[in-house]
Symmetry: C2
Subunit: 345 residues, 2 copies
DNA sequence: AGCCGTTTGGAAAGCGCTTGCCTGGACTCC
DNA sequence: GGAGTCCAGGCAAGCGCTTTCCAAACGGCT
């Protein structure tokens, strides 16, 4: 039992293909109401479902929105994806998802696949790195745009692509100021981010602010910008705590998932937060509210970012340049127990 | 600057369309090596990217794999999605994602959209409900399969659709046994699951085992099978703890996200876990390892489930019936601090 | 009744690719 | 040397839909 085609519907209703098409697939020109009814009825009885592929070919518009994330099981990305999904649905787009396992080669392949599928727009979420892989991505997106595609980034700007930027620097600065205001002076940043732009931006802004205020910042190197990266850094952090002997030390983990991993690692080593060391993260991922001790962080509107990226893409598709893609994306410092705030009721 | 077509490549290489197609798009018949080289070179210089839409139309195979989840930002679903993504990539499929916000109407729309896009297969993840919405989904999937589509479910079976089943009953029974072995007799289940099949299955198996062993099970009603559902149930649970006055009480939350929400709610009420009440969850979502107190749960191989669903779908596509889609999906009880196990080092 | 401006429905030319079938030339085999 | 085999390459017919033209029908006027 094969799927009925529009042709079948047309025949069943005794009209031409053109008429059937106009009735069923949102044309500007609507046939007379008698025919409309007849066609609708036929479509119904035959169980007709439009073939979006054929439609795409004829219209050269697929209704597909490519979404590239680093790791869909990371709450940071999945929150953004959730926002994107809602916006996409609202505008009648389907999400073509690619999760790249934080691998740049895979990311490039993913973009290629999305281009092959002629996604109307592509949203790439995820910290970019500097270096050749980056150039390749830039090149791919540029080619895509030159040939009529629309691209939006979430995270770091790259080439000329429109970008929804989280308030990294601002947030980090504010966080630093708030922590300094608590009387803290000695800080540790989980870092060594030569290549990844987002963590670098955060750690640099943080460090500058601290140093300008006369504080100190040590760096504990981290392999990966993820939960495991934070977890693995616990040893180094614990060592610094040891050395600090008495002086209040605060670790800034550059991302909540890292902070969570870090705290898990510290816990295993018997280092208590906030008694022995303070910890701060960044993003305020939704799952944070259920962690103990509650993590001080910088709130970033993740779902909103996903949503905006999609809106920007859709606007570009419609030929409008959406103003202020990153207007009003404000960071908000949330002080919690992990930096010594009283546990909330 | 428009995209080059295969035709352009063919002309540039001085061969026919057919030859170019055979060279570039994986045909069984490969032209002579001279031509192959020429075509490859032309494609390269022109920056040709195949149009998957047109290809799909001609081949009636899209290379698209529909994935329907309830909420992509829920770790349960995003873990499954991550597994699915990897498997899809391995087999050259793109994921067409739909996150339905736990809304059955949206779910139905999503399936319709995936059908319209002629996804080669559709994987629906997520607890099914009983009732009319369910019938509609069944009908939609049946129609899809009748007309050549392939569907796989993750969770509860429905109609004749192949299903990857998490070991709900087995896991719940084992959990109950293990908890009983700890000497516990009074239990609470977060429930009232007339409609959702998975939670019902879990709570029923758990309850039966407990009752058979002479234990008691109270039920605290819950609105939604999610973190917030658990959070909102904290009041009811706390009240029961109060009544129990002294006797050890253990709450089984049917899903980790609920357990986490519950614990957050209990914490706000000053009810301590495991001192005042014990808590157990289900799934062992990856983020669990970072929670305090560590949650006792039943480990379910989430990524593996996503992976299997995709493999099953791909196998069906290739005309093979994959044996044992749910073979070896074993539940494993993991006793942790939330039920009084010694905190691990 | 005769004209002109509107509608309305339909025919047909694509959209970019795959693939069955056909042709002609190169080879093989007596 | 002629007939029979193979193959490589190309032609052209789709895949299912949209949309531009056209022609016919219709309505309103004078």
């Amino acid at each position: 039992m094969s799927r009925p085609r529009l042709q079948d519907v047309a025949e069943h209703a005794g009209v031409s293909l053109a008429t059937a098409s106009r009735v069923l697939n949102g044309s500007a020109r609507q046939p007379g109401s008698v025919l409309v009814e007849r066609v609708r009825a036929s479509a119904e009885t035959l169980g007709y479902v439009v073939n979006a592929q054929a439609q795409a070919l004829a219209r050269s518009r697929t209704g597909l929105l490519g979404l590239v994330v680093q790791d869909i099981s990371d709450p940071y990305f999945s929150s953004i994806a959730a926002g994107a999904q809602v916006a996409a649905r609202e505008h009648g787009f389907q999400l073509l998802l690619a999760s790249t396992d934080r691998d740049q080669a895979v990311q490039l392949e993913a973009v290629a696949a999305l281009v092959a599928h002629r996604a109307d727009a592509i949203v790439v979420v995820g910290t970019r790195r500097d270096g050749p892989g980056d150039d390749a991505l830039d090149a791919a997106l540029t080619r895509y745009r030159d040939s009529g595609g629309h691209a939006v980034l979430v995270g770091q700007p790259l080439g000329e692509v429109r970008t929804v930027r989280p308030p990294n620097a601002e947030g980090s600065r504010e966080l630093a100021r708030d922590l300094l205001a608590l009387g803290l002076r000695r800080f540790v940043v989980l870092g060594r981010w030569e290549t990844w732009a987002t963590p670098r931006e955060r750690s640099e802004a943080f460090t500058q602010t601290v140093v300008a205020a006369g504080g100190s910042v040590d760096v504990v190197p981290v392999e990966s910008f993820s939960r495991d990266g934070g977890y693995d850094a616990a040893g180094g952090a614990a060592a610094l705590v040891e050395q600090a002997a008495g002086e209040r030390l605060c670790v800034f983990a550059v991302a909540d998932v890292m902070a969570i991993g870090l705290m898990a690692g510290l816990r295993e080593r018997g280092v208590r937060v906030p008694d022995d060391v303070l910890v701060a993260g960044f993003d305020d991922i939704p799952t944070l509210r259920d962690h103990v001790p509650a993590l001080t962080t910088v709130r970033v509107p993740l779902e909103e970012m996903g949503r905006r990226a999609v809106l920007a893409a859709v606007a570009e598709l419609d030929g409008e340049e959406l103003e202020g893609v990153d207007d009003g994306l404000e960071a908000e410092v949330v002080l919690r127990e992990s930096t010594g705030a009283a546990p909330s009721a």
